[in-house]
């Protein structure tokens, strides 16, 4: 992995990094990738992947309102970074 790859991934992951940091991160990634490289030795032809281990399938619930797990407006807004007249203010994503 190169420093430019690290910068690209930082953009994808929405992680702000500075120029010094991408050097250290690239080194750490390469160390980790080196360790996990050994996995490629394992032959997995015809083997299905295991994404979950419970064996449960298609767990449904009724589409009902559960008042006991609902927040009041005050509760929902309490931890918000910025609010305005009962709404949460979010950063602009479109150009003016």
């Amino acid at each position: 992995m190169k420093r430019t790859d690290t910068q690209h991934i930082a953009t994808l992951a929405h992680i702000p990094i500075n120029n010094d940091q991408d050097k250290d991160l690239t080194a750490a990634f390469n160390e980790t990738l080196e360790t996990i490289k050994t996995l490629q030795e394992v032959k997995v032809g015809g083997v299905e992947p295991t994404h979950q281990v419970t064996g449960l399938e298609n767990v449904y619930r009724e589409d009902e309102v559960h008042k006991d797990t609902m927040f009041t407006q005050d509760q929902a807004l309490k931890n918000a970074h910025r609010t305005y007249q009962g709404f949460i203010v979010v950063p602009r994503i479109l150009e003016k």
């Binding site: 050994t38 996995l39 490629q40 281990v53 419970t54 931890n79």
Partner: protein, 458 residues
């Protein structure tokens, strides 16, 4: 010394009215406050913890320490990250809700590796926790604060969470008992998610008996977590004080170079199981080194997805507040899940995971339980994890194979070094949903040996 009571003894003393609940809470809170400057087990100690509801359960009035990744209504919940420094959840996790309605008293939140990313508690944004057994050493992690709080008698019992070692490795390093339930036995609802396909909340306690009592209180199906099992929860205390005669136990990972130094001490302890009538024999396994790779890829991938929700808009700070370890994990996960790499890394890792599942299925046709050390060695010195991108994965490698398969296990103290006062833990892994059998073996071992600090005092 009310704070030194086990959960079982505290319950008996409350029931017989030998002690008052408020006395017990006050004592635990006072001890926690005075020791915390040095140990730093807690990120938050409740000033006015009090007992509200009288209920007729075995945990009624019991002061518990809760890892800081369980959302607790009206108590800070930071996951030891600056991102959540000011977050006070308006709701309880299902587990803490269950505990409260059973009358337990939540006296504080415990320090951890930030977001549970680590095995040292050194990646916490709120300073490292010290190992109370020897403060030059690490408590392990990520549930290091909970393990230290139990070991230092700063609570009666604690809760932790484990993805691959985060309950049992710190339990082992701090000389306490840690129980990781089967994945899906205990609800994850309201817990700061790390790796959703392996996260398992569980008890961290002074004795095996206490773990069985606490597991009874938190286990069971939860409509708010679709991965919890609908099957009935047994009474885990029914597995206590039962003989283990004729149990077939496989001794796994016996020829790994990583535990050359501790091997002879561990094998000495296996004789205890034989003296109790079990048969113990070396059991070859699929190479556990491959589990490091599987776990690393799966965990990083799930981390990058789970931590995408921290935008700093609805709650918490923005993404510039992530520490270095979280950044490393989020970004590596993003890489291994990205177009062109997902097949090579994530899917391949989950195929190898299938091979581990098959290996355990075969092993459990021959054995009732599998044992190994919980961590290859004793606690490491403070500072040991710094600059080591793979520190945790190596310290947890003996637990990673069973964790990626969702299997349960109990770590029970099995050796104490007299010079350093540091401990080793024996991990007992049993088939899916057979926590009771792991409790049975761990309890029999604990009662037959002198390694448990609290049983020695009794």
């Amino acid at each position: 010394m009310l704070n030194t009571l086990t959960l079982k003894k505290a319950h008996q003393a409350i029931k017989s009215k030998d002690i008052s609940i408020n006395e017990l809470i006050t004592k635990c809170t006072e001890v926690s406050q005075s020791k915390n400057n040095d140990i730093n087990a807690y990120t938050y100690i409740k000033e006015d913890a009090n007992f509200q509801e009288q209920s007729n359960t075995k945990i009624s009035g019991i002061p518990l320490a809760i890892k800081d990744n369980f959302c607790t209504k009206d108590m800070p919940t930071t996951a030891s990250s600056k991102v959540l420094e000011s977050f006070i959840p308006p709701f309880d996790s299902s587990v803490t809700q269950k505990l409260r309605s059973s009358g337990a008293v939540l006296i504080g939140k415990t320090n951890m590796d930030a977001w549970a990313h680590g095995s040292s508690t050194e990646t916490s944004d709120f300073d490292v926790t010290k190992n109370p057994r020897n403060t030059d050493y690490l408590p392990g992690g990520s549930s290091g604060g909970s393990a230290a709080a139990v070991a230092a008698d700063m609570c009666i019992a604690a809760l932790g969470t484990e993805t691959a070692g985060s309950i049992r490795q710190p339990a082992s390093w701090c000389g306490i008992v840690g129980l990781k339930p089967t994945y899906g036995r205990v609800s994850r609802y309201g817990i700061v998610a790390m790796a959703s396909s392996t996260d398992s909340p569980g008890p961290m306690t002074k004795t095996v008996e206490d773990s069985a009592i606490l597991l009874n209180a938190i286990a069971g199906h939860d409509p708010l977590d679709a991965t919890t099992s609908p099957q009935a929860t047994p009474d885990f205390t029914a597995s206590l004080q039962k003989p283990i005669k004729d149990m077939r136990i496989g001794y796994i990972y016996h020829n790994l170079a990583e535990f050359e130094e501790t091997k002879s001490r561990f094998e000495e302890q296996l004789k205890v199981l034989e003296d109790l009538g079990a048969t113990v024999e070396p059991a070859p396994t699929f190479d556990p080194h491959y589990a490091i790779g599987v776990y690393t890829i799966v965990q990083r991938g799930e981390v990058s997805s789970n931590l995408a929700r921290y935008t700093g808009i609805r709650y918490g700070g923005d993404r510039s507040h992530f520490g270095d370890e979280a950044k490393r994990r989020i970004m590596l996960g993003t890489y291994t899940l990205s177009k062109g790499y997902a097949e090579q890394y994530y899917t391949h890792a989950n195929k190898v995971r299938t091979l581990f599942m098959r290996d355990f299925q075969e092993l459990f046709e021959r054995y009732d339980a599998l044992v190994s050390l919980s961590s290859p060695g004793f606690a490491k010195k403070r500072g040991a994890s710094e600059g080591q991108a793979m520190f945790g994965e190596l310290e947890d490698m003996l637990l990673e194979p069973s964790s990626i398969c969702g299997l349960p296990g109990v770590s029970v103290p099995c050796y104490r070094d007299e010079t350093t006062n540091l401990f080793l833990g024996m991990n007992i892994t049993t088939p899916w949903w057979k926590e009771g059998r792991a409790i049975q073996i761990a309890d029999a071992f604990e009662r037959a040996t002198r390694w448990n600090t609290w049983r020695n005092k009794q």
